[in-house]
Symmetry: D2
Subunit: 337 residues, 4 copies
């Protein structure tokens, strides 16, 4: 079977994970090129993973004729331009979220994707590729829990990563754009509907530093969706127990909870503190297989000439909703869509 040749840009924590996954865990694919400004890291990673081309610029990488596809894991501010450039260079594109850092950028990305209808474009909403979320989605889609009443989703980062989060606070776009986007995507995916209204709130409960950026360390919002479902989202930076992403969907005939205990593995410990489960430390640990699965889906789409279920419009829509949440949070008022 033909192997798709991929070049990947960005070697931050997630970038490294994607590179490793492409090189060793995703099938029918070859990691043919890597691009990063940090030359040492670039060479070291390329050596370790047996990657042929090491590029110092994105332009250099997309100019490589043999590449079929580009994986974008660069800083958010570069996504839109790189998506457009890669598509223009005739490559299939997988991009990490967000599509763009403004809604205008998202629209620009939409146009780029629309101009290349023969190319596969996919956005990295990895939770949709987590085995537990997939299992739950199937149950909801098949009507097993009846009509959805309440969708509740949490994204909590561990307190121990707070310094990085504070340092990054001016660039993240805030909790709704940086964290809650995944929950917003899940809500739309599970409910197959769009929001009508939102009331957002939050505050700096432990770290006043976020206040400088009109952000909070913990925020939440309550939305009403067009299909009448209620959606409650919570995003926080101060989780004491670990990385916690959990979701509950209450339906008229059944209720599903995904990862209500964010357990690290199947080991239960009985000691002086009681009976306990240790928790996942970060998104890479929790969503290890999701990151492999989403790239596999991207590769399979290319090979089978079909389009992924996550579209460019999902990226725009999620950004629009996150911006509305942010606006409601900042104004302290309920807003309509």
């Amino acid at each position: 079977m033909k192997k798709i040749k991929i070049g990947s840009v960005g070697l931050g924590r997630l970038g490294l994970q994607h590179a490793e996954n492409i090189a060793t865990r995703v099938m029918n694919v070859e990691l043919t090129a890597l691009c990063d400004l940090n030359k040492n890291l670039l060479n070291e990673t390329a050596d370790r993973l047996g990657v042929e081309h090491r590029c110092n610029s994105f332009e250099e990488m997309i100019a490589l004729e043999e590449l079929d596809a580009i994986c974008i894991v660069s800083p958010s501010g570069l996504h839109t331009a790189q998506i457009s450039a890669a598509l223009a260079a005739g490559k299939h594109v997988f991009s990490e979220k967000p599509l763009g850092v403004t809604v205008e950028e998202c629209k620009e990305a939409e146009k780029a994707v629309e101009s290349h209808p023969d190319k596969v474009f996919m956005l990295g909403f990895m939770r949709r590729f987590d085995p537990s979320y997939m299992y739950a989605h199937q149950k909801v889609a098949s009507g097993e829990i009846g009509k959805p009443i309440l969708f509740r989703s949490y994204s909590q980062d561990p307190e121990k990563f707070i310094d990085g989060a504070i340092a990054f606070a001016g660039h993240s776009g805030g909790q709704f754009l940086d964290m809650a986007v995944h929950d917003i995507d899940l809500a739309r995916w599970f409910l197959n509907s769009e929001p009508e209204s939102v009331t957002a709130m939050g505050g700096c409960y432990a770290h006043p530093e976020f206040g400088e950026f009109k952000d909070g360390d913990n925020v939440s919002c309550l939305m009403k969706f067009k299909n009448d479902a209620m959606v409650f989202l919570f995003a926080g930076r101060t989780a004491p127990h670990g990385y916690n992403v959990e979701t509950e969907i209450i339906g008229t005939k059944g209720i599903l909870r995904i990862a209500s205990v964010p357990q690290k593995n199947l080991v239960e410990i009985l000691d002086h503190s009681g009976v306990r489960k240790e928790c996942s430390e970060n998104f890479l640990e929790r969503f290890e297989s999701s990151y492999v699965n989403e790239l596999q889906e991207f590769v399979d789409c290319i090979l089978e000439e079909r389009k992924p279920s996550v579209t460019v419009y999902d990226g725009t829509r999620v950004s629009e909703i996150a911006y509305k949440c942010k606006e409601s949070f900042e104004s302290g008022t309920q807003l309509r869509f």
Copy 2:
């Protein structure tokens, strides 16, 4: 030790439970009189529990000189008048929630209580006397989880009781007044603060009948409290699995969850449906010991000449908040307090 003599009015499901508890499980107390319009039930219950006086009217009961205290478990519409009358007759009063069916009635009850400063008055917010809630409250009060960020509380009645709920829908005051009041009380108790704003919503997801009364079968609200804490409440009538009252308090240093699995007991069953726990069927099963504990506290307050921690003002405040929730639900808008 002196035994407090109590007369109890109302022999519905909860009234019967209170009567049994007073007669057999609460210490230092005697169930001396019972009052109900249903003579057969009255006699049968009095016989079974060895109760001396059987009263056909409330007036008759409060006129009994030997009674120290009255327990009010009559229909909600009668509470305020009976509280006033019993206090006027020189009795200590324990009343089931609500204090009154309007805020005006609550204020009236406040005045009655204020006019009898030597009498013990207590309102039946039984959750405050549940061992697990008490344990969690102590941890929160002692600062163990740091500053509260999010308070989330659910009250879900099993779908199997839906016919009764529909029949009662015109008299219940709606989900916020009938069910969410307990969660509102818990929020105020745990957070030691009051709400500033509320956005409520909901709908008739399974049972359009509630729509006739401008109510929903499932509702929720998001409030901001004056101490900055966020409060998300959910109340529903269609729980597929049983009676589910659960609460989560997310703090800056720890998180507590109370009854996130509403388990019936400590038995776990492994069968064709997987590994499961059966759930509590109703409030009497779930809060069995709370109902005993709250009456014990009432009796102890009388004997020790002190006042209960639940005051008449809690009753008014909870009603005011529930009415504001209802107003937000009906108008579809965010409201300030």
Copy 3:
């Protein structure tokens, strides 16, 4: 309704609990007399619980004509003699386990009980009166889990009580007689059958002191019962997490687990150590309601003139089996019954 008048002997930890339960939580009963060698404790307890007669000797107490029944919570070595004396004095008798400290004593107790067929005699196997065990027993008895294959039961005392256990090691009879008897009783009750063979073992894993008494700090045994069921019991003194009594019954159609997490209450804590439940501290906390329920059953049997399901023969049989376990443990060989 007539109230049964009870006198209770022994004011150790469990004795105090029984006294309080009789005085305040068991219905249709009065705690009329108390007996203990410690006069201060006796008077203090009698004052607190409003008990009329304070007896310095057991003989004095059973001579009280007004007493209907005696509750025996004295040191194990006195049980048999006190059972016989109380029955001879015309009293109904509730006795804590064991029936006697030797099988001969048990047989003596049997004779005493047989000589007073009109009296109610009951032995304190409180686990049979725990709501979860009762619920599970009903499921097993009704055939819900099919034919029993494996019965597994643990009795673990917290390490923090080890000093008391060591001090008491010479008098306890060893782990099988002191702790595993409850599991042996449960196995017979759930399986409705008797053992055929046993292989016992164990050791001093943390506390060599038990070796002086030919005992271990942790022991186990595997038995085959006559109905073909396998029975695995484990008893230990070094539980790091709390008081742990758990049971599993594997049947051909279903499996039940009782208290596989010995949770203190319904509070779940999420903190630096993960997601955890705190555990019961001791038998009084875990079996709080069982101790009330068993005495209620005793009183109800007297009032309703029927015999308890726990008989004197259960006491003898359990002792015989525990002695056989001890013998197998000491010899290191498999034994037949």
Copy 4:
């Protein structure tokens, strides 16, 4: 990096899984040859996985010069001979358990391995490569739970596979050799010690068919190990809830439980049957990643010229112990090692 070329024999359920893993999930390896008697299956699988050589006989496959290693997933009776032949042909060998169907065969395999000290030989005890078991093992090895007291391990196959198990009963060697071997291996691995005595038992609780082969559908054994630890193993064919492999290690300072709920994924379902988790269906689902990890370890050992931690002697020892269990089961007596 050099890629190891592997040929795999046997395309049963596990054989297919190994073939897929080698072809698509294990790094630095190529599935170069496949061997099976079923030509259709062989061709279909080879086509699907892009395998070059399709062999109709094992001899044909090991004669392929380019192959570095052989993976043996053939029927148990062929293992020893194939191990010897493959090593003699100069190949590294990964073999599924058992090493041989008799202890003599195991000794023969030992000699073959000893005769080729430059070759990597590894036996498929996949549980040692499960992330949860590895995590627990590290904790035990580092002394985190103190001295091991009791090691308890269950292997339960779902009742729904019973027809296959009955059909295979005459060839499986019985429950101890077919199922409990994995638990025996775990016990030795966790305790780093060997058994001294064993008492085994069991019966045909639901399926008398196993009786014809002197086997039971559910069996157990209690062993004492040389380090004083107690070991209780249970193996059954009638699990109502799914595939259940769980282990508990009780130490003097802590207790670990691995997979005490054999959950399929992180989804919790609240419905009419309570709150439940669905269970793993079979060993392939439960140990999905273990099967990849063990082959990765095999490949890494070849590339890094080191020996796996699982040795040929583990295979012999486990078989010896399983045979002793079987002997105790058949004779109904305790045996020494």
